[in-house]
Symmetry: C2
């Protein structure tokens, strides 16, 4: 009887410890932590490392062509038996090919961003793929829900890379989106610790998407020089830029300064596009050219101080979350 009880207690503790919610159930993962699909940073090595540690790893397709993406999907599948996904920016020319590739390769999860999910969601879901869309406002969240998405990522102003025109921060955006849709909400923007994850869950999110912290992980394919710059970033060192095109959060750099000067002097969208040319983000984030390259990273970089394996980062976040939870008291 005593043995039975102690087993029962153990089972209860395990269940309580690995509390399921709608996000862990949706993806079939252990912890409701998604690694953001980032251009030039998140190939198969990072995605597999996060999925192996119990989160959901995403391959960022935005910097790939279809052949490259196929290689990354296959390698990721070799490196993990657990669920993983790909992120597809819908404004990208390769998007239709990527959608077909996801279906052919039976990728378990697709996150779409930067565009209208209505076009592809039904097709993805008919093929058994869990589909999530990234939004920056409640209108986008409602459209994603109507188009059949299983969940939304709501991403705040503090996030690195592409950003919403409303500039709504995570603190304000998450409760508003949670109130506006019935599907589960994954919070993104400014989250790099268990403390911030706890805050996101308090705001009503059922999971978090973490980008910058994983961009600075061992398995990230970011150039070592860019990873070092992330560690060195201080408060105020990331700037929302290119509001006339698509707003994007950049690390302060000679490239950013040039863009900023052009904007302050009233440059048109065409002039900005001409200056940007192509290949700027590859040059910066992948090739390590800190002068001419575009460097996308979030505000939370000011608190990132160490490059670690992605699995260690994930477990540190989960442990911090669970350790801080009981410290919250009624008022």
């Amino acid at each position: 009887m005593f043995i039975f009880q102690s087993h029962f207690l153990l089972l209860f503790k395990v269940l309580k410890k690995h509390k399921m919610n709608r996000i862990t159930q949706l993806f079939g993962i252990q912890y409701p932590v998604v690694q953001g699909g980032m251009i030039w940073c998140s190939g198969w090595e990072l995605a597999a490392a996060v999925s192996n540690a119990g989160g959901l790893g995403l391959i960022g397709s935005g910097s790939m062509d279809p052949d490259t993406l196929r290689v990354h999907i296959r390698r990721c599948r070799e490196a993990t038996t657990r669920p993983f996904g790909i992120n597809i920016p819908l404004i990208f020319a390769h998007a239709p090919a990527f959608i077909n590739l996801a279906i052919q390769e039976k990728v378990p999860v697709v996150f779409t961003s930067a565009g209208n999910p209505a076009k592809y969601t039904a097709m993805l879901k008919e093929n058994g793929i869990k589909t999530v869309h990234v939004v920056a406002n409640t209108k986008g969240a409602r459209k994603a829900e109507e188009s059949g998405c299983d969940a939304v990522v709501a991403e705040g102003y503090e996030a690195g890379g592409h950003n919403g025109k409303e500039e709504t921060t995570t603190m304000v955006l998450i409760p508003h989106v949670v109130q506006s849709v019935s599907i589960p909400v994954i919070a993104a923007g400014g989250i790099g610790s268990g403390r911030a994850m706890l805050a996101a869950m308090a705001l009503g999110a059922e999971g978090v998407q973490i980008g910058s912290r994983f961009a600075a992980s061992t398995e990230s394919s970011a150039h070592p020089v860019f990873k070092q710059k992330i560690l060195e970033a201080a408060e105020g060192d990331t700037k929302l830029s290119l509001r006339k095109l698509i707003p994007v959060r950049l690390l302060d750099s000679p490239f950013y300064k040039k863009v900023s000067d052009m904007e302050a002097n009233g440059a048109s969208a065409e002039e900005l596009l001409a200056f940007l040319g192509s290949g700027r983000s590859r040059k910066g984030m992948f090739e390590g050219n800190m002068e001419e390259g575009e460097l996308e990273i979030g505000q939370v970089s000011a608190m990132i101080s160490e490059i670690k394996p992605a699995g260690d980062i994930l477990l540190e976040i989960v442990e911090e979350y669970n350790a801080l939870l009981p410290t919250l008291k009624p008022v």
Copy 2:
């Protein structure tokens, strides 16, 4: 024995319910909720209403002269026996007179903002006044701690009115400031609900400062037309503006559009100052001129839908906080 136990249990519940922390102890208040000292919105009526409900009400001195402030302090004292405070923007010409007034009138708490607290903190504290400084970065927080402040308010990018140059959001700013100082941190920016308060406390804050939600309260001295505009504000309707002078978050309006056009066309700080002239905020927030007046409000206005008595707002926030706390689960 049973009766003793039930009394004991009741006492325990009461103590647990009204959990003290460093912020409630510092100010001698029931709930760790501070009503932000806002120009043209927070006179003695609002401050007294919040203090009477168990929070800390602040008279916003930034729109007053010394005689007016003295009247507000005295009326506030007549209207509540509980602690209250005043907010003093240190860049304001009347600041030295306000500091002396706070000492003469034995105001229990002074919040300073927009300037260096080192000049006045010692004097205020020698006179038994609890002193708090508002900051937007860790450097400011450390300076406030070194100057002897009892606490800091860390205010994020989403907040209405004056704003930090770094544009760091509440989600990123609070844990960074908490990690940087030993004195308690009060979170501000984007907080208008119990949900957001819970998130702020998860980030390590020991109290919250709430502005916009109280600007739209019955006791707020904002013009009824401005209060109505706060209710109508949608996502993206507040804009960080005047980055060349002191960044300030404004509600979208004809005045904002004019400033924004000038900025987009490369207007200098001098040209902007000349256009602003004086009395713009009085005209907008106090006199209800929605065309020419300056309207300061936070991003959280997009979620404010009703004008209520300040005491009801405070209790609703506290109840929501306490109701949501047990819904947070381990992961």
